[in-house]
Structure formats: C-alpha cells, structure tokens
C-alpha cells in the first residue's frame, strides 16, 4: 500500500497542528498573519495538486481500497482547498469578532474540517465515510459555536450538534445493516454483491438510513430543517464553509454511495430522487420569499440549491453527475463572494438584516457589484457561473426525460423553472436593497483590506471564468463523472 497517496491529507493536518502550536508563540495582534501563512501553504498544496505531481494527482487506492484517488476526488479536493483558502481570508477579516485571541484555533479547526473533506472526497468505504463525515461534523460543532460571546452562535451550535448526532446515529445504524446483510463495507466490493440483495428490505433500509445521514449534510428535504438556524447563528466564515465544504462533502459521498456502491438499487429510485429534489427546491425558495435576515435567506437558498444539485443526481446519468459537479464548482465561488461581502459589510451590525445593505452602492461600488454578481449568479442568469450550471443540469434532466420517457423528469424541470423564478424575486430583492434601498442610516465608505480585495477578485474571476469559459472545467467534471461509473 502506498501512503504517498494521502500526503495531501497528512500535510493539511500537519499544517493545522503547526498553526495550533504557532498560536502559543505569536502575539495576539499578529495572529491574523498565521492565517495568511496557512493560506500560502494551502495555495502551494493547491498548485501542486493542479500541476498533477501532488499526491492527489496520482490515481490509485490505499488502505485496502478504503481510500481512493481518482478524477472525482481530485476535482473535489481542489474545490475544498479553494473554499478553505477563501474561508481563511474571510476569517482573517472576521477575526476581531471571534473569541478574543483564539483566531489561530479557528484557522486550525478550519484546516481539520478541510482534512475531513479531503478524506471524504476519496473515501471508498463506509468506515472511511463515517470517520470523515464525523471529522467534518465535529469540527463544525466547534466552528459554528465559535462566537461564544454570541448566544445565537451557541444556540446554532447546539442545534447542529443534536441534529447532527441524530443523523449520524441513523447513518451508523444504516451502515450496520448494510454490513450485516452484505458483509461488505467497501463500495467497490459492495457494488458487486448489491444486486443479490436488491429486494432485501433490511439492506434497503440500511441504504436509506445512510442516505438520511448524507441528506442531512446536504440539507435536502426532509432533513433541511436545521439549515436556516445554523446558517444564521454561525459566524459568517463558518456559514460559508458550511454552505460549501460540508455540502460538497455530502454530495461527493452521496455520489459515491449511489453510483459506486449501490447503483443497482439507485436505478429504481428515480422517482424518489425526483420527488426529493422537487420538494427541496420548492421548500427552499418559498420559505426564502419573506426572509429579511440575509444569512438566513442564504440558508434557505442553500436548501434550494441542494435541490438544484439533486437534479444532477436524479438525472441518473454521467452528464447529470458532471453537471452537478460543474454547478458545485460555480457555487463555491458564488457563495464565497456573497458571504465575503456580508462579512465586510455586516460584521459591525447587530444583525444581518437586508436593510443593512441600503446605500451600499455608495459606500463601496466594488462590494455592491460583487454582491449583485453573486446574487445574479445564484439566480442563474448569463453570463455567470450559475447560469451555465443550471443550463447543464436542465439539459441532463431533459436528456434523461427523453431517453426514459419518464414524465416525472419534465415535471421536475418545470418545478426547477418555477423555483428559479421565485428565487429571482428574493435575490433581486437584495439587489434592489443595494441600489435603491430606502433611507440608509450609514453612508460611510467601507475600506477593504488588500487581502480581501484579492479574495474578492478570486471569487469574481471564478464566477466569470466558469460562466464564460466552461470548456476546461467541463472536461474535468466529465472525467470525474466517468471515474464514478467504473
């Protein structure tokens, strides 16, 4: 077995530990620089991974098939690292609102969560799945409740804790049942034997319970209930990371389980997936309509986006999966941009009420434009990332519809359409607040630190690049999707 495959994960964890130690020696006012150091390190890792001679560049399996490096894991690992980098930037901006002097802890916890995600990306075994998910979740318990001075942060933490534990309990039990019936924990092996158990109720129950756990992570109906509260209460960088990292981790695992481990079962669940994603889309968008708190609004919208992403799963086709990943890639930058602006604009406000955005176009045209672009991209309007992603998803969906003659898919497509239109209402409501919001109480210009500018630039570049030049990313995602198949 070659442990060189997990060098990336090891180095991330090591980095986290180093940061913790560094915390002891660096004086409090300098600690935000720890973050920048971490960012640089992660940047190096990212570049190596992109250049292909990094550990995750070389494909193969380790730990007796528990751990796999393939196109899928590569793509997701890169996304995770990018997300982490942006989150660290954000945290550096946010640091003064975090518990005094404990910034470094925040950084290292972020890195541990990242490590969990990296493991999730290449887990090919239920044990690995469980451990990585728990690593992510437990770290997030802390990250969510990190603003200990703020009651809402703690409350969000507890809610996340209880419901997270509940879901993992279900998941564990599901794993137990799967293993009990099939005697396999490894996805690849399981795929071989699964067809025999296709009608064993206990096996199906097990799979469903695992899906419950994953459904919780991606905040899909009917396990979406936690999302708004946690998004609202958590410190903004955490919310961002939660909205991208752990959602993406959930999705990569979902893909692995559904299409690598039990494809024979999944094939029968088209209608289940259709219904789930349809309801998820509608729920998220409808609830968001009257919402005034921006972070909570994005919480609801992230539910809706889970629904859109599930379109790609429901399509049950390689193009669907690739569309899903494409959409996620765009989603990373878009959401990051949104939360970055929220961080910069609202960190000094008591609550994240939308009215806080009034007059933003005067206070900082850059931030105004960025948030607008983020909202437009979320709404899925050209020429931004969100549009091409939705386009691909719809295309995959209609393709399946016209191959399988399952009219449910058409209904799903129209549901998505309705969802998009509803979402336009509240996303554009945000834009309205930015450009012609009523009586802004504060018109002082917002000064933006250069690192913040840099990361905003990264986000915008990503949004436009993925929206305007899809070819490269699309090839990667197609590759990843093929990796899933075999």
């Amino acid at each position: 077995m070659n442990s060189s495959l997990i060098m990336l994960e090891i180095s991330v964890i090591g980095l986290g530990l180093v940061l913790m130690l560094a915390d002891l020696f660096v004086p409090a006012e300098r600690r935000r620089f720890i973050g920048y150091a971490a960012i640089v390190a992660l940047g190096v890792l990212l570049i190596t991974s992109l250049s292909g001679n990094g550990s995750c560049g070389q494909f193969g399996t380790a730990f007796g098939g528990m751990f796999i490096n393939d196109g899928l894991s590569l793509l997701f690992k890169q996304l995770f690292i990018i997300a982490a980098i942006l989150v660290l930037f954000m945290a550096a901006e946010f640091s003064d609102k975090l518990a005094a002097g404990s910034v470094a802890e925040y950084y290292s916890l972020t890195l541990f969560a990242l490590a969990g995600m990296l493991f999730a990306a290449s887990s090919n075994d239920f044990t690995m799945l469980f451990v990585s998910i728990e690593l992510i979740t437990i770290t997030f318990y802390v990250l969510v409740s990190f603003q200990r001075s703020k009651i809402q942060s703690l409350e969000a933490g507890v809610k996340y804790l209880i419901l997270g534990a509940l879901s993992s309990a279900f998941m564990v039990f599901g794993i137990a049942l799967i293993w009990g019936t099939t005697g396999e924990l490894n996805f690849t092996k399981l795929a071989a034997v699964a067809p025999q158990f296709a009608d064993s109720q206990m096996f199906l129950l097990g799979v469903l319970l695992v899906l419950v756990g994953l459904g919780f992570k991606i905040a899909a109906f009917p396990f979406q209930i936690w999302a708004p509260d946690v998004y609202q209460g958590a410190p903004t960088p955490t919310t961002a990371f939660l909205g991208i990292g752990s959602k993406a981790a959930g999705f990569v695992l979902l893909l692995r389980v559904l299409f690598t481990a039990v494809p024979s079962v999944t094939a029968h669940w088209a209608n289940l997936l259709i219904v789930i994603s349809a309801i998820t889309i509608l729920y998220g968008n409808l609830c968001a309509i009257p919402q005034r708190n921006l972070k909570r609004l994005l919480g609801y919208s992230s539910i809706a986006h889970a629904g859109y992403l599930l379109l790609g799963v429901a399509a049950l086709s390689a193009s669907g999966q690739s569309a899903l990943m494409y959409y996620l890639a765009g989603y990373v930058f878009t959401v990051m941009a949104a939360f970055f602006v929220i961080t910069l604009v609202m960190r000094h406000l008591p609550s994240e009420d939308i009215s806080g955005l009034a007059g933003l176009h005067q206070r900082s045209p850059l931030l105004a434009a960025t948030l607008t672009i983020a909202m437009v991209s979320l709404a899925g309007i050209p020429p931004l990332a969100g549009f091409f992603g939705k386009f691909l998803l719809l295309k995959a969906l209609i393709d399946t519809a016209h191959l399988t003659h399952n009219h449910g898919y058409y209904c799903l497509a129209f549901t998505a359409l309705i969802g998009v239109v509803i979402s336009l209402y509240y996303y554009f409501g945000v834009i309205r607040e930015i450009y012609w919001g009523k009586n802004p109480e504060d018109l002082s210009p917002i000064e933006i630190s250069s690192p913040a500018k840099l990361s905003l630039a990264i986000c915008l570049a990503g949004i436009f690049w993925i929206g305007l030049f899809p070819d490269t990313v699309l090839n990667i995602t197609n590759l990843a999707a093929t990796a899933l198949g075999k």
């Binding site: 419901l163 879901s167 129950l205 469903l208 419950v212 009917p222 968008n285 609830c287 309509i289 009257p290």
Partner: protein, 620 residues
C-alpha cells in the same frame, strides 16, 4: 408618350416644396408661400404642356416597381388618360387659384409657412390619387389626403372646436378607408392583381371571376368614396370641417378632396356590377336630398355652402350609380369651379366682415364689396343651374342620365333637390347682399385686396364658361366607346336637344328662386321656422346624426374599451396575476412556520422525514 417625366415632376414638386419648407424656410412666411405656390402653378403649366403634347385622347402608363413580394406586386405607377389629365387640370388649376388666394387670406397668420407646407402636402396627395394606376397606390394617397385634410382642418389647433373637427374628419374617413382596404384585399384575393388596367382586362376576359362577392366587393370599395366624398351615412364630418381656414374649405371640401371619391368610382367603374351601382345611386340621391334639406336652415355662411357641397356630391355619386360617369365627372369639374368660387367669395366676405360668419349679421354687402358680389352672383347662378352658366349644363346632363336610365324616382329627387338648391342659395344671397345692414360689421365691411379678388375672377370665368368648352368631350372619350366630339356651338345648345329634363330643371330653379325671393328679400329674421315648425328644427339640427353616432358608434367603442380596460386591470392584472403572486407569497409564509426554532420540533420533523422516506420506499 411624350414628356414622360413631366407627370412625375407634377406629382413630386409639391412634396419637394413640403420638404423644403419644413426643413429650411419655416422662418419666412413669404418664401415658403411662394415656394408652395410656385410648385402648384408649375404643375399647372406642365400639365398644359403635357396635354397639348399628347392630346386628350391619349392614354398611357408609366410605372416603377415599388414592392414585390412573391405574389404581391405593387407598382408605383402613373396612369394618364382623359380622366386623370382633366383632374390634373382641375387640381392644379383650381388649386393654384386657391393657393394664390390664400397668400392674401392667411397673410396675417404667424404660422403661414406651416399652412402652405400642409397645402402642398395636400396637393401632392391629391395628385397621387389622380395619377395612381393601382389600388394600393391610390389607397396610400387616399390616406395621405385624409391626414393632410386632418392637418388643415386642425390648422388653428388652439381652438378646441378645430381640434375636434379634425379628429372627427380623420376618424370618419378611417371608417371609409376600412371598407376600402377590405374591398381592395378582396379584389386582390380574387383577381390576384392591383393594377387597374390588369384588373380591367382580367374582368373583361372573364367577368365571372368576382363571383358571388362581386356586389360586396363593389360596396366595400364604395365605402372609401363614402368617406372621402362624405356620402350618407359618413357625411357628418364635412360640415364640421368648416373649422379650417376658408381656402382649405374651398380647396379640400369643395374642389378636390371630396371629389376624390367620385373620381375613384369612375376610375374603378369596371368593378361594379348592377346591384352595387343601384344601391350606390340611391345612396347618392338620398345624400343629395338630405343635405339640401339641412342647408335650408343653416345660418353660417360657410356651412350653408358646405351642405350644398354635400348635396352636389350626392348628385355626382347618384349619377355614377346611374352608370353615367361622364355627366358625373362633368358636374364634378364644373362644381369644382363654382363651388371653389363660392367658398372663396364667402371667404372674402368673411374677411370683409372681420371673421363674422353668421349671415344674419350681414346684409346689403353688394355696395361694400362689388367684386365679391359679382363673383358670388356668378357662383350662385352656376350652382343653381341657370343657363348658360356651367352648372346648368352639368346638372342637365345628370337629369338626362337619370331619365335615360328610367330611374324616375331619382329623377324626381334630382329636380326637387335642384329647387331646394336654388332656394337655400338665394336665401343666402338675399340675406347677405340685399336688405339693410344687420350689424355694425356689415356697415364697415370693405372689399378684399387684389391678390384675393384676382383668383375669384379667374374662377368666375370658368364657372361661367365651364359648360361649353368641351369638358364632356374629354370625359366622353374616356368612357363612351365611340364618342363623337361636339363643337362648342353644339355643346352650347346641347341641353335643348331633349327638352323635358331641361324644362324640369329650369322650372325647379324658377320655383326655388320665387320662394327665396318672397321669403327672404329684406327679411330681418328667418320666417321659415314658424312656417315649418318641427321640420325646421330637424333641419337645423342636421336630423340629429351627430347625436345619433355619438350615442351608438362612439359610445359602443368607449364601452368596449372600458370593459377591456376593466378586464385588464382587475381580472388579468388584479385577479390572476395577483392570485399567483399572493399564493406564492402565502405558501412561503405558511411553509416557514415549520421553522419554529424549537429543537424538539426539529428532531421530531427529522424523524418524521425518516419515517416518510422509509414509507415511500419500503412501505409499498
């Protein structure tokens, strides 16, 4: 044909003058008016040149393709034959006179340049109608005539009444045009062409082509004439159109525009079958009678003349309907002369009276304005048809035609209307020029300047001699296959060949004259209302047509508009869209009630979700 380009010049000079005036010379009254006058007078000269180069019997076309889309071939072409050339003369000649007259009449109006631009625009459109060689082109200029009359009637747009009159004229004409275009489409659909000559040959080859819809098509086309020539039931706009400046009334509402309808009927006569012609003739006769009756009780000098125009147009249409295009065009031409003359004289009177138009404020003007008095008299005699004035010949031709067609009812109507005409004209004549001054203005009236009286004299000459200078020959050569040209002497005595209609005509004149004299010589007030009672008020109020249309057509459209608007506002916008909006919003507010914020509920919903999932998959 010789001078092939002349007609194009004749047509486009006025347009050019419009362009020049609007673009450059709006500032200067004189230059603009001279440009416009120059355009039309040059046109007149060119027409003369062209005619004596080609002669009246000549007939030809010159055209260029304007639009060609598959089966739709539309030429921009000029048709030149006796009919159009004669009309060219009338339009440019009478028009020229009126242009010159207006130079004096409008002299102290600060937007005179605009006036002349409009006048040229009108001339252009009218010439277009006259020269058009196909239906669509005729329709195009038809519309342009409509709009230029709209502009001219509404020239004094600050006056609300002027604005309203313009609007009314436009919309009423539009109603006619609706039928016209409808008919054009129908004809095109059946015969596949729009060019008059092509249609004529096609129909001559195979008369059955129009088939069952022949009558309908004919009547629809007639609708156009109904609008422009103000035939019943679309006659209501013409009297109001008198809001425009008097030269306009003379040019548009006496000489040219209103004649367009009749001209168009003669131009497309080959399309009409006997049924449609029959109906047309009765509409014409009825209009003639109706208008004459209305005229009897009007007191506005211009309106009286306007109503007489209506009834004369009725004559013409009736004659066309009686399959007599030659007399119709004959009367059209002479009418153009003497009616323009009357209007312009009336204008001169109005100027002399300082824009007083009520005849009961005038009186004894023959002393104050001798020239005007003279020309007016000539006009009156011509209108009434006193020999040897032009009107006598044309009206006699009409009556003869009616008799020849054995349509005795219409003949009777014709004679009766002749009597009425004489009556109301001389009523006007006596009240205005005889008796004693009925107001200060009348006693201070003065003669108009030369620039105005000269055109009067010119027109007077034609009104006198128009009857026997060979107009009928020219038209006859157009319509009657083997038409033998008459010498001037023959024409002079022509009516006396068959005495009965002439006798009736003259008798009618005599009766009318006698009545008018006995009632209105030195009358201070109108004795008629007391004599006629209800009928008089009916006449005075134009038989309540305006009120009737107001109550039906306008009201109906406004009602439908109100309904549509209501539907749009309350059902579509309010109910349906509102329901969708509100429904979505409400369902959102309802759904989020699930987010109680209570952990227990969350856990419960979570478990419920699991149960749901399991049931959905395993339960079945």
């Amino acid at each position: 044909m010789k001078y092939e380009n002349l007609p194009w010049l004749i047509l486009f000079l006025p347009l050019l003058s419009v362009a020049v005036i609007t673009l450059f010379t709006l500032r200067s009254k004189t230059v603009s008016s001279l440009i416009s006058i120059g355009a039309v007078v040059t046109g007149f000269v060119m027409t003369l040149l062209f005619i004596n180069a080609n002669g009246f019997q000549f007939s030809g076309e010159t055209s260029a393709n304007w639009l060609s889309i598959g089966g739709l071939q539309i030429d921009f072409g000029l048709k030149l034959d006796a009919l159009s050339m004669m009309m060219l003369l009338v339009v440019t000649g009478v028009g020229g006179a009126i242009h010159i007259y207006s130079f004096g009449y409008m002299h102290d109006d600060e937007s005179m340049a605009r006036f002349f631009a409009f006048l040229s625009l009108f001339t252009f459109s009218m010439l277009g109608i006259v020269l058009a060689n196909n239906f669509l082109m005729m329709f195009i200029f038809w519309e342009l005539v409509g709009v230029s009359s709209y502009l001219l009637i509404g020239f004094w747009f600050e006056k609300p009444s002027a604005g309203d009159a313009a609007k009314k004229a436009f919309v009423t004409n539009r109603l006619g045009d609706f039928g016209f275009l409808f008919g054009i489409l129908m004809v095109w659909g059946l015969l596949g062409s729009l060019s008059f000559s092509a249609l004529q040959t096609t129909l001559a080859a195979n008369p059955a082509l129009l088939g069952a819809s022949a009558t309908l098509a004919g009547l629809l086309i007639f609708c156009g004439a109904m609008g422009k020539s103000a035939q019943f039931p679309l006659h209501v706009w013409l009297p109001d159109a008198m809001e425009g400046p008097t030269p306009v009334s003379a040019l548009i509402h006496a000489a040219t525009m209103v004649a367009a309808g009749v001209y168009m009927l003669c131009r497309t006569l080959f399309l009409f079958n006997s049924e449609s012609l029959h109906l047309i003739s009765y509409i014409g006769g009825f209009t003639a009678l109706l208008a004459a009756l209305m005229a009897v009780q009007q007191n506005d000098i211009k309106r009286i003349i306007a109503y007489s125009t209506l009834s004369q147009l009725g004559y013409m249409v009736m004659t066309v309907g009686l399959n007599g295009p030659t007399p119709a065009m004959f009367h059209l031409t002479t009418h153009a002369f003497f009616k323009a003359l009357l209007f312009l004289s009336a204008g001169s009177v109005i100027v002399g009276m300082h824009h007083e138009q009520d005849i009961w404020q005038m009186g004894n003007l023959r002393k104050k304005m001798p020239i005007t008095f003279l020309t007016f008299t000539i006009g009156t005699l011509a209108l009434c048809g006193v020999p040897p004035f032009s009107g006598f010949y044309s009206k006699d031709a009409i009556l003869t035609q009616a008799l020849a067609q054995k349509s005795y009812l219409l003949f009777g109507v014709g004679v009766f209307v002749a009597a009425l005409t004489t009556f109301y004209t001389f009523r006007l004549f006596f009240i205005v020029f005889f008796g004693k001054e009925k107001s200060k203005a009348a006693s201070h009236a003065h003669e108009s300047p030369l620039v105005m009286t000269l055109p009067l004299i010119a027109l007077a000459v034609f009104s006198f001699a128009g009857g026997f200078i060979g107009i009928t020959n020219n038209y006859g050569s157009q319509f009657v296959n083997h038409h033998e040209a008459l010498s001037m002497a023959q024409q002079f005595t022509e009516p006396f060949n068959n005495l009965f209609p002439m006798a009736c005509g003259l008798g009618a004149v005599a009766v009318g004259l006698f009545l008018a004299y006995s009632l209105y010589n030195n009358a201070a007030a109108d004795p008629l209302p007391t004599k006629l009672g209800g009928l008089a008020t009916l006449m005075k109020n134009k038989f309540y047509f305006d009120e009737f249309y107001e109550a039906t057509f306008i009201r109906a459209h406004d009602f439908l508009a109100a309904v549509a608007d209501w539907l749009d506002r309350w059902i579509l916008e309010g109910a349906i869209i509102g329901a969708i909006r509100g429904g979505t919003d409400l369902s959102g507010r309802a759904l989020r009630l699930a987010q109680t914020g209570n952990l227990q509920t969350y856990a419960f919903l979570f478990v419920l979700g699991v149960a749901l999932l399991l049931y959905f998959v395993l339960g079945k």
